[in-house]
Symmetry: C2
């Protein structure tokens, strides 16, 4: 099955990349934007077909490698592939 | 309202970052992974409250700045903030 992991910065953590996008959008004439935050999107194709097992496995991956738990949050979505 | 933009590499486009994650997961003992692809996740807080207008605006942002249409796809999700 396929796992979609969203890794986003926690609230309060500075996001220079998001700020740069915000400014670039502003200079292109896009007004009315309050905030831009940039995160990561990781798609993982797993052999595992059991949803509970796949979720547990991906959770471990997030905690060990994909997300920096000090400054980032993650969320996991699973879909049958 | 809040827009969530997912920018992913098109199929067939090489993804060295995804490959690096794949290998790192393998060396941490996570087996049974077929493929890893990394994309970008951009959260935009908009002042616009009309869904159709917001969607059109974010679509323009994607085409002008957020996504490289030659090698990337994008998808837009809107939610009331």
């Amino acid at each position: 099955m396929k796992a979609l992991v969203k890794v986003t910065l926690k609230n309060g953590v500075l996001d220079p990349q998001g700020k740069a996008i915000h400014q670039a959008l502003g200079s292109l004439g896009f007004d009315g934007i309050d905030q831009v935050r940039q995160g990561k999107l990781i798609e993982i194709d797993l052999n595992e077909n059991d949803e509970a097992k796949a979720h547990a496995q991906v959770e471990k991956m997030c905690e060990k490698l994909l997300a920096n738990m000090v400054i980032e949050n993650y969320s996991i979505e699973l879909e049958a592939s």
